[in-house]
């Protein structure tokens, strides 16, 4: 019996509007509501809703035989509730079927795992909280932003109590080894590692409608046949996809929905193939070995590393400047500030600043609201400058400012006291006057 593990990622950032330097200190609203709503409505209509509908149908039709896992970033969930609440409802319906597993991730789809333990933990907790509120489940499996993973991150995840993590079956770490087994973390072997089969996953996500591809057209029969013919010892096919692949990247007209339906039907009815959620996979299958990943990997680009987000000086500076604020943020309790802080952390902002793709910038420009990485950088830094100014008013940066704010607090308290006393005095005076008049 071979297992097919289907996993879908959903994330949408809060894109910034053109935020010029004149706005710094004057205007504290950073978001392009129109674009965010338009993009979200569009992808919800084209992809999320119809795919959810199909999955619901599959779950009911093949009772318990169809399984899939999701991780939906907190920012995406926030946008759903703002612009397309019906998407959340349809996920809730899916959740009720019991065929769906929700995975944990960072709330902002952030890069915090690369920076700071506490921030990372906060981000993950926040995400698990919203998942529990909406779907009533507590995730046991973790999927980091864009499949970013290293031994260290894995060890931390294990410490935080998760049983397994999903990541890319990157060639530079797997080498001759196959992603079609369960592995474990090199530091803490209690954490299982599921590695994405990028060949099979990308056949669906990227190549499905590519007419120049030798395997075009890809049919369910053909795909299932590939799985059947695989090395008999291999036990697991990790198909990890971006959910937008259905209906967005691969449009409805390409037949992607039919493919998904037929494929699911064939696997569900197959004698030697079956679906399983990540939790089931790690219960049923024995890990074959530890996989050492000393340097972080991801599922992005050919390099499968971090260069899409932290490849150039601009990205690194923006990243540093953002997380330099963490001490101040820790002391801040303003909900508006925390909200902006979460939005600012989205990895997408750093992705827009990438200079890797001048020549073949297809994928990057596809997702990018900016004309150039420089514009993206300037815009982000302007926003960050304003955010910092606001943060300073709530949580002063250094000793002197701290003292000033403490004094200001005292002054404010004293003033409040004086006002109260004045009120009492005037009240007493009134009383006195009244007494006097009465005496008269």
């Amino acid at each position: 019996m071979k297992t097919v593990c289907l996993f879908f990622q959903i994330h949408q950032p809060f894109r910034h509007r053109r935020y010029r330097f004149f706005d710094i200190g004057n205007d504290h609203y950073y978001y392009d509501d129109f674009t965010n709503e338009a993009i979200l409505r569009n992808i919800a209509q084209k992809s999320y809703l119809p795919t959810n509908k199909l999955l619901l149908k599959l779950a009911k039709q093949y009772e318990g035989k169809f399984k899939a896992a999701f991780s939906i970033s907190g920012l995406a969930l926030e946008q759903f509730s703002l612009y397309a609440p019906e998407v959340i409802q349809s996920f809730q319906k899916l959740a009720k079927t019991g065929c769906i597993e929700f995975l944990s991730e960072t709330y902002s789809h952030s890069l915090s795992s690369l920076k700071h333990k506490t921030i990372f933990e906060q981000q993950v907790k926040l995400h698990d909280k919203i998942i529990f509120e909406l779907f009533g489940v507590k995730p046991r499996i973790f999927r980091n932003t864009e499949m970013i993973y290293s031994d260290k991150i894995g060890a931390q995840i294990a410490e935080m109590g998760y049983n397994a993590i999903l990541t890319e079956g990157a060639k530079q770490v797997l080498g001759w080894k196959s992603p079609n087994y369960v592995y474990v973390n090199a530091i803490n072997p209690r954490l299982k590692v599921l590695m994405r089969n990028f060949k099979l996953s990308d056949d669906i996500a990227f190549r499905f409608s590519n007419t120049n591809w030798a395997e075009y057209p890809l049919t369910a029969d053909k795909f299932v046949n590939w799985l059947e013919k695989a090395n008999p010892k291999e036990e697991l096919f990790n198909l990890f996809l971006s959910y937008g692949s259905f209906g967005e990247r691969q449009p409805k007209e390409s037949g992607i929905f039919d493919f998904l339906e037929k494929f699911s039907m064939q696997v569900a009815n197959h004698s030697k193939l079956k679906f399983a959620t990540p939790s089931e996979v790690i219960e049923e299958l024995q890990p074959v070995s530890a996989e050492s990943v000393p340097h972080p990997i991801s599922w992005a680009d050919n390099e499968r590393d971090l260069t899409a987000w932290l490849g150039n000086g601009m990205q690194k500076e923006a990243f540093e400047k953002l997380y330099n604020l963490r001490h101040q943020i820790a002391k801040c309790t303003e909900t508006e500030m925390i909200k902006d802080w979460n939005y600012l952390q989205a990895s997408d902002h750093f992705y827009y600043m990438s200079t890797k793709y001048f020549s073949d910038g297809e994928v990057h420009s596809y997702f990018n609201p900016f004309d150039s990485p420089y514009e993206a950088f300037i815009n982000y830094m302007n926003v960050l400058s304003d955010f910092k100014i606001r943060l300073n008013t709530f949580v002063p940066e250094d000793e002197v400012e701290n003292e000033i704010s403490a004094l200001q607090k005292i002054v404010a308290e004293k003033e409040e006291k004086i006002r109260k006393l004045e009120a009492t005095v005037s009240a007493l005076e009134k009383k006195g006057k009244m007494k006097k008049t009465r005496l008269k």
């Binding site: 330097f21 000086g313 500076e317 420089y374």
Partner: protein, 429 residues
């Protein structure tokens, strides 16, 4: 292969990018070592660098052919009657004596000096149209006296010369469009210039445009089929090593520079508006407008009106080494051109490790990656980009490193190779 090239200026006597481009191209050709160049300018001063080419000044070409010894004036005239229908005259008196004889209608008279040479200023003065015509006359003679395979004329001032040379020699003509009248005038094209340009383009066997932007203008505004036009981008001469030292600037503040003619084409007013916006937000910054032009007084007035004269400086026209000096002191270079066929100055700035902001309406924007590109009219974006470069260190650092590298890969020898391709195609090689 030998090419006869006509251009209006050649370093060090230049007023803009045209001479620089011609010089770079001929140097690239020399490196390529496939094509010999005879370069003709209206006025040779004698101090031009001629290592790469053979330079001829039209002012040094006697109208009479040296190798033929003439007995008297009559014979001379006979010769021109037959050969070029060109009658030289030295002074007014002689002109009338000559004029009183009988000549056919096709005969032309031209004023020469004692050596039977035509005087040229080589400038862009009031007699420009006359000079262009004279230049074309001399071109005929040069074309007859020299051996070559292709004619190459740079910009409209030299098109008539190129055409004349083509008529005499029957060799193919390539014209090189560094700018069009539409770029220079901002839409109000001078009909005489337009006519000259259009004739050049129609007579040419091949057209080289310095950018796709220019190619489109040539195709659309002059009605030239675009198959006839090839885009060859300019490059930049590497600066001499010792020249790269960053000199001490006199002020503490950051310097933001505009460098170019102060004319409508270059968009100086947008630079000033952006400066006004930035100076409201930060003061430790100085703006410099280097160059001169017909809009200069207007610009000075606008700067005063905005009340930013304390932080905004005009230098007037800068020459060779002063330009480098200026660029060395610069922290951000801005080229807000309204219509710039190519634009070499940003490349020079990048050589001096200066981050650049260029308008999308410039040809150089088509090839540069490590530059911030904005629309010339979008002063908000321009101000924002300047602010970003001055305040967010990583951005400037990125441009200094990557920009420099990028610009070092833009070599004239590559442009020369592309130009040679065009020669080959007009020669059907």
């Amino acid at each position: 292969m030998k090419v006869l090239m006509f251009g209006w200026e050649f370093p060090p006597h230049i007023s803009g990018g045209l001479g620089t481009a011609c010089f770079g191209l001929t140097k690239g050709m020399a490196k390529l070592n496939q094509v010999g160049v005879i370069f003709v300018v209206p006025k040779a001063y004698g101090d031009e660098e001629q290592s790469a080419i053979q330079l001829i000044g039209a002012n040094n070409v006697p109208i009479t052919r040296k190798e033929i010894r003439f007995e008297d004036v009559q014979q001379k005239i006979d010769y021109y009657e037959v050969e070029s229908k060109l009658v030289p005259y030295i002074g007014e008196e002689e002109f009338w004596t000559l004029k009183s004889r009988k000549y056919s209608k096709e005969m032309r008279f031209v004023q020469t000096n004692d050596g039977y040479k035509i005087e040229f200023s080589g400038k862009y003065g009031p007699d420009l149209m006359q000079e262009i015509r004279n230049y074309a006359l001399v071109a005929e003679i040069i074309a007859r006296d020299n051996q070559f395979d292709v004619i190459h004329a740079h910009d409209w001032l030299a098109y008539p010369a190129g055409i004349a040379a083509k008529k005499v020699s029957g060799k193919p003509l390539v014209i090189h469009v560094h700018a069009t009248e539409f770029d220079r005038s901002g839409g109000n094209a001078n009909p005489r210039v337009y006519a000259i340009e259009r004739e050049g383009m129609e007579m040419a066997d091949g057209i080289i445009a310095v950018s796709t932007l220019t190619k489109n203008i040539v195709a659309e505004k002059y009605g030239i089929p675009s198959e006839k036009i090839t885009v060859v981008y300019n490059a930049v001469e590497p600066v001499v090593n010792g020249d790269r030292k960053r000199l001490q600037k006199g002020v503490e503040e950051k310097i933001v520079t505009f460098l170019g003619r102060i004319t409508m084409q270059k968009g100086p007013e947008y630079f000033i508006e952006a400066a006004g916006m930035i100076l409201k937000k930060m003061k430790n910054i100085r703006f410099v407008m280097a160059g001169s032009g017909d809009l200069m007084n207007q610009m000075i007035a606008r700067v005063a009106e905005l009340g930013i004269s304390g932080h905004f400086h005009f230098t007037g026209f800068l020459k060779g080494t002063d330009v480098n000096q200026m660029l060395r002191m610069t922290d951000v270079f801005v080229m807000p051109s309204v219509s710039e066929p190519f634009g070499i100055v940003p490349l020079e700035a990048m050589q001096f490790n200066v981050p650049v902001i260029i308008s999308n309406q410039s040809g150089v924007a088509e090839i540069l990656e490590n530059a911030i590109k904005i629309d010339f009219w979008d002063t908000y974006a321009m101000a924002d980009a300047i602010y970003g470069l001055l305040n967010y260190g990583a951005l400037a650092t990125h441009f200094k490193k990557e920009g420099k590298q990028e610009v070092e890969n833009l070599e004239w020898v590559n442009s020369a190779r592309d130009v040679t391709e065009v020669y080959n195609s007009v020669l059907n090689l």
